[in-house]
């Protein structure tokens, strides 16, 4: 998964520069799509909420999408390896305007479990059972 950080890269660009940048991004995207590399991709709206605390009791406006760290969109890649995904991220045309791309492998299983190997077996055994309970509830 590619997470695009820094959604305000357009600041300070002229209309022409912006047009060129948008054209390049579209062409980049179409190129990847034709090669069958894209499983899904969306921009994210700037408005959002951040939920935290027990039972989600805190709901605040956010995140602050003005920051360079804010996630402005994502792309789920069908890549051969992390290196392949990094190479694709490096070809993203708006890197030169200050965005950064976080490249993360998508897993089938929660990595928290991998940190606790003693749990893996018990959790997989129990999960199916609990799913039935949940489904029946």
């Amino acid at each position: 998964m590619l997470l695009f950080r820094g959604p305000h890269w357009d600041r300070g660009l002229s209309t022409d520069e912006l047009q060129q940048a948008i054209d390049k991004v579209m062409a980049w995207f179409e190129g990847l799509n034709k090669r069958g590399k894209i499983k899904g991709a969306q921009p994210l709206g700037g408005q959002g909420r951040v939920v935290s605390g027990t039972d989600g009791r805190f709901v605040v406006d956010g995140p602050f999408t003005e920051t360079k760290e804010a996630v402005g969109g994502y792309l789920v890649l069908q890549a051969d390896s992390l290196d392949d995904a990094v190479e694709i991220a490096q070809s993203m045309p708006t890197l030169r305007y200050g965005i950064s791309v976080e490249v993360r492998p998508i897993l089938a299983e929660c990595p928290i479990l991998q940190r606790h190997p003693e749990l893996v077996r018990r959790a997989t055994d129990r999960t199916a059972e609990e799913l039935w309970v949940a489904a029946a509830a």
Binding site: T15, L18, Q19, I22, G48, S52, Q90, L95, V103, I106
Partner: protein, 140 residues
């Protein structure tokens, strides 16, 4: 001004903080993980979640012209790091928030970011506001 978020029904939940297991007993961790999976399966069965995955803790951050800087990261063991996501298809933002509030990790410090999935990239939207009609392809 109309914004796409008022009509969109798709939301992304980004789960932040993948260190919620610290200080928990094996039984507690097991319960949270099982609850989380059951929650995911229930939302999928209800048609409210179209997909989701945990993200691996290893990763890279690419930046700079032509992506010349490739750093290890994003230091996934932190309170801010994104540990996984759900793609929701729901009636409105309130329903997305209600679902976010059911996250089993909240009690242990996980934070859920609820973001509308946009139809149009915000850059294009801003570009159209700055100079309506000037940007070819901006409505694409």
């Amino acid at each position: 001004m109309n914004t796409s978020s008022e009509t969109t029904s798709d939301y992304l939940l980004l789960f932040r903080g993948n260190v919620w297991d610290r200080g928990l007993s094996p039984a507690q961790i097991q319960k949270v993980v099982a609850d989380w999976m059951a929650w995911f399966e229930r939302l999928k069965a209800e048609g409210k979640c179209l997909g989701g995955h945990p993200l691996g803790e290893e990763g890279k951050v690419v930046s700079g012209k032509q992506g010349r800087t490739v750093a290890d990261g994003p230091f996934a063991e932190s309170k801010e790091a994104i540990g996984g996501y759900f793609y929701l298809h729901v009636a409105d933002e309130n329903e997305a928030i209600e679902i976010a509030r059911q996250c089993p990790g909240l009690e242990y410090g996980a934070v859920v970011e609820v973001r509308p999935v946009a139809d149009v990239c915000s850059i294009k939207q801003r570009a159209m506001e700055y100079s309506p009609g000037e940007l070819a392809g901006a409505n694409a």
